[in-house]
Amino acid sequence: MGDWNVKTFLRNNAVTLMFVLLCVVFTAYSGMSPAYVAFELISRIARNGFIVLALIIPIVAGMGINFAISIGAMAAQIGLLWVLEWRITGITGLVVAAGITVPLATLFGFLAGKLLNKMKGQEMIGSMILGFFANGVYQLLFLFIFGNVIPLNTPGLVIKGSTGVANTMNLSGPAQLLYALDGLLRVRFELPGSSPAASGGTAGQNTFILPLLPTFYVLAGLAAAAALSMYLKKRVSLTKFVVIMSAAVLAVVAVQFPAVQSVFSMLSLPVATFAVIAALCLLNVVLLRTRLGQQLRAVGQNRTVANASGINVDRTRIIAIIISTVLAGFGQLIFLQNIGNVLTYGAHEQVGLYAGAAILVGGASIARATNSQALLGCVLFHLLFIVAPPAANTLFGDPGIGEYFRVFVSYGVIALALVLHVWKGAKAKKVIRAAKGAQGI
């Protein structure tokens, strides 16, 4: 912090700044209301935050994880199918599904890890083919075993005359799995001068409505107090203290404007989901500080060196795959309970497609793949997703182009992010290994 100057700041945060810039431009052109953007962003983070954070451990271990995410998702979907069949509803159902996911994902992860360890140097083609093979097994299960060999009795799971499980499994309705986690506790904000009912939105039994301004005052006050006490105990520098204090003041001032207030008008925070995401953050921190965490890190940085220093590389890699598979399964459950239905034959594909990109955009590298990078990446990436298509429609004046533009931007920024990271030089190799990890090589 001492030798902080504009140039190094720009260089070190080129990717993130570029993203912020893109987001600014696109938001301005998108014509979307800030309230909607905020609302959409929060729901997307709630949906995807877990999976993005689940990538930290495998990235630190230098592992390919895309296929692991897919097989973890398959395990989660098997869990959901049986919860639906047994008609276990609500949060109990979700917990049971998670309970089924753990052994299945562990088994799948273990087998996949064993297999990949046997094809060193061929991991790329190996994981590609493994993905197809796993899909074949999944199809065999859902099309020819469940519903045929093992009969299913819940109506709606099997279509009359078809070969297996229907292509959509409904989690809402009698199954009550929709928002099983999100709906446990929600918080909405009451804007000054308007009643919460008028602003519409999800209103469940577990929704708490907080008045916006007092909430802000309390939060800003808490932040300021915490910063002050930390500063007095000399745990933070003066610069940081000033930044936090001014941010708190700025927030309190900004929230006085109706325009800023309206940003919160649609928000409905799924507190339980964010609590689970926070728990994962904690797990990441704790796990990486243990002996196993050190081993994972060592293997990720250099397998040969790790091996020489007496670490069982194969075993460590398998553990990393198992962890990422199980976590991906949980992530898929969180995602699906929010969406409300399972596309039986497609939901697991490309689960990690943008998760890996998001974490890279946040600036993660092997040396330092942190929770805050993952979350920042998640925010920026999804914000871009929300505002890029309408912005493109406005810019090009052709509604047909927006969707292509969104895909172009989403892949393009990943490529650009990687390129910029490499150009930064020193961190290059580590980032790239992280990128390979995220990509599944």
Binding site: I125, M128, G136, Q139, V407, L418
Partner: protein
């Protein structure tokens, strides 16, 4: 060879022995097909089939006729389909209710008169069928000078779908159309009367067996039975199969049945014997083979041979399947080849291949835009595509030089984003030809037929048939030419410098090689091959596919070359050839074989995915350490 272990020896002898036995039985079977024994067994089968058709089958035939009548009546009355279904099922029930039939135990009856009647019917039928074939031949021969025969349109170069019409010529089904004006000759009518007469004789013999069958019923059976006993070009195998499928019963028992089977499946026994010999060879020479090919190739290769064997055993058209495999190898070969310069120059697998593919597509589009056709169009597409690809490749190479050591992670995303960028471009590029534009609005179509430009130009060039297998000579020659050129290039000074730069950049730099330049040349070469490859692919497939289609091309080519034994840092032309053949061979044969083994069931695709990919996975785990990768 010298140190063959005891167990292996015993195993080899056993297999060789079995193989020899099978070979002898098979050859004997094939030779016996014209013999007395074959005739006897066929005669017995024929008798049973006839008796079953008229006996047990009478009921079925009666019901079928009633259903047909109901269906025809409903259609004539313009009923809706649900009414028709009802009418047919009602007719079926009525027919079943109104008819009762007591089955006769076939083994208990005196069959001699029936056999005699059948034999005499065969004679008449054979004479008739042969006469019919000869008459039709003559009819076609006098038809040939007719200008309508070969191509009903004046073959203008830009005539729509000319290539499609060319394909029609090869099809035997075309005969049905041409024979529409054919009238039976007097001789045919006479022979037909003879057949009718003999059939009446058979009817008499049969009515002794089934006294309660009326003349009407026998009249109903006439077409079924006359075509059962003999068909044009009948061989032992076809007659045997027909009897089994129409009779339903085994017909023969004990040793006779076994002999009949051996005669019928003699060819299959020979195939089995040959494949066992191959197994012996593989076991015996497995060390040198593994050294040459690596275990993955050997395993996948054996799987391919197994697929061929199964297709032979199930009387599938292996020649056509192999011919299809050759076409697929040829059409994808250049794309797979594009991976080689990329790997050799040190940028690893070029997953940004869609960039080259898109350059090629632009070449193809311009060819259609300027209405170029035939070889000119093809050469133009390749020239323009290559030029664009060279430019793209140069820029792409510059980018990759800034990303040393991290190409693969980035190239996928660069490729994807370029494909999406081009999706926008396809919508806004100012192409004028109305054939290129969407039927209803602006932008280019997602698939454009090459039938007006260069459809199957290479596939059909110098194509010839050998052993019933169509060889796409031009396609294979073109692929061979590309491989040869790339091989030549790597023998040149630049080529060897590039290899050095790729395998050990630091050393190469020290030796005065400009590594960056070499990497750019390699990238340009790979991109250009991608462009050429997609044009070859399009001319064979028949469509230029835009929008999201180029996305998958990089991965398919990468899979093939990796299965061929390349690694991310080492590749050779042989990897391309072996990899293309194995990957596309298994893909081509897999589905038809799975469909034959598991007919009328959707599980065949799932099983195919599991087995094909499972074998490849297993093969990859045997690669051992990855040096030979």
């Amino acid at each position: 060879m010298r140190k063959v272990p005891m167990i292996k020896k015993i195993f080899l002898f056993l297999i060789a022995g079995v193989s020899l036995l099978l070979l002898i039985a098979g050859v004997a079977g094939v030779l016996l097909r014209g013999g007395e024994k074959a005739r006897e067994s066929l005669s017995a089968l024929r008798l049973e089939a006839t008796l079953r058709i008229t006996g047990k089958g009478a009921m079925q035939a009666y019901v079928d006729a009633a259903k047909k009548e109901a269906s025809d009546r409903a259609r004539a009355e313009k009923k809706t389909m649900s009414e028709l279904r009802e009418a047919v099922s009602k007719a079926e029930q009525d027919a079943l209710a109104s008819m009762s039939f007591d089955d006769v135990d076939i083994s208990m009856i005196d069959a001699a008169p029936v056999t005699r009647a059948i034999d005499s019917l065969i004679q008449a039928r054979m004479a008739y069928v042969n006469e019919e074939a000869a008459a039709q031949q003559a009819y076609l021969a006098q038809l040939t000078p007719d200008p309508m025969e070969s191509s009903p349109q004046e073959p203008l170069p830009d005539e729509l779908g000319e290539g499609m019409i060319e394909d029609i010529q090869a099809q035997p089904a075309d005969l049905t159309k041409k024979l529409e004006g054919f009238q039976p000759t007097a001789e045919m009518l006479r022979l037909q009367a003879e057949v009718d007469d003999r059939y009446a004789g058979l009817t008499q013999a049969l009515s002794l067996v089934y006294p309660n069958l009326s003349g009407d019923v026998f009249a109903m059976f006439k077409p079924a039975i006359t075509s059962l006993v003999y068909m044009y070009g009948d061989t032992y195998e076809s007659a045997y199969d027909r009897m089994l499928t129409s009779g339903g019963g085994p017909g023969l028992s004990g040793l006779d049945a076994l002999i009949a089977r051996v005669i019928r499946n003699g060819d299959d026994l020979i195939y089995l014997a040959v494949s066992l010999v191959i197994v012996c060879m593989v076991v015996l020479y497995n060390k040198p083979l593994i050294k040459k090919l690596g275990p993955p190739r050997l395993i996948i290769g054996s799987f391919f041979v197994l697929l061929c064997l199964i297709s032979l055993l199930f009387d599938m058209n292996l020649q056509a399947l192999l011919s299809n495999t050759l076409v697929r190898v040829g059409m994808n070969g250049v794309l797979v080849l594009a991976m080689v310069p990329a790997i050799k120059c040190g940028i690893s697998l070029n997953l940004g291949l869609p960039i080259g593919v898109i350059a090629g597509l632009l070449g193809g589009l311009l060819c259609i835009e300027y209405r170029l056709t035939g070889w000119v169009g093809f050469a133009f597409s390749i020239a323009v595509g290559s030029a664009i690809a060279a430019l793209f490749g140069y820029l792409y190479g510059l980018l990759l030089n800034r990303l040393k050591g991290s190409e693969m992670a980035v190239t996928t995303y660069v490729g994807y984003s370029f494909v999406s960028l081009m999706c926008i471009a396809w919508l806004v590029l100012p192409f004028q030809s109305l054939e290129l534009r969407w039927p209803m609005g602006g932008g280019l179509r997602n698939s454009l037929s090459t039938s007006t430009s260069f459809l199957r130009l290479l596939d059909n060039f110098l194509a010839f048939n050998v052993l019933g297998m169509k060889v796409p000579t031009g396609l294979l020659l073109f692929m061979g030419l590309c491989c040869y050129l790339v091989w030549l290039f790597f023998r040149s000074k630049t080529g060897s410098a590039m290899q050095a730069a790729g395998s050990n950049p630091r050393f190469a730099q020290a030796a005065g090689i400009n590594v960056d330049r070499m990497r750019i040349i390699g990238t340009v070469l790979s991109t250009v091959l991608g462009a050429v490859g997609i044009i070859v692919y399009n001319q064979s497939f028949g469509f230029i596919q835009l929008y999201n289609a180029p996305r998958a091309m990089g991965f398919i080519a990468a899979s093939a070359v990796l299965i061929g034994g390349a690694s991310t840092s080492k590749a050779a032309i042989s990897n391309v050839l072996i990899g293309s053949f194995l990957f596309f061979g298994v893909l081509t044969l897999g589905m038809p074989v799975a469909n034959t083994l598991l007919p009328q069931s959707m599980i065949s695709e799932t099983i195919r995915i599991l087995i094909s990919n499972g074998i490849i996975l297993y093969a990859l785990t045997k690669s051992g350490g990855g040096t030979r990768g």
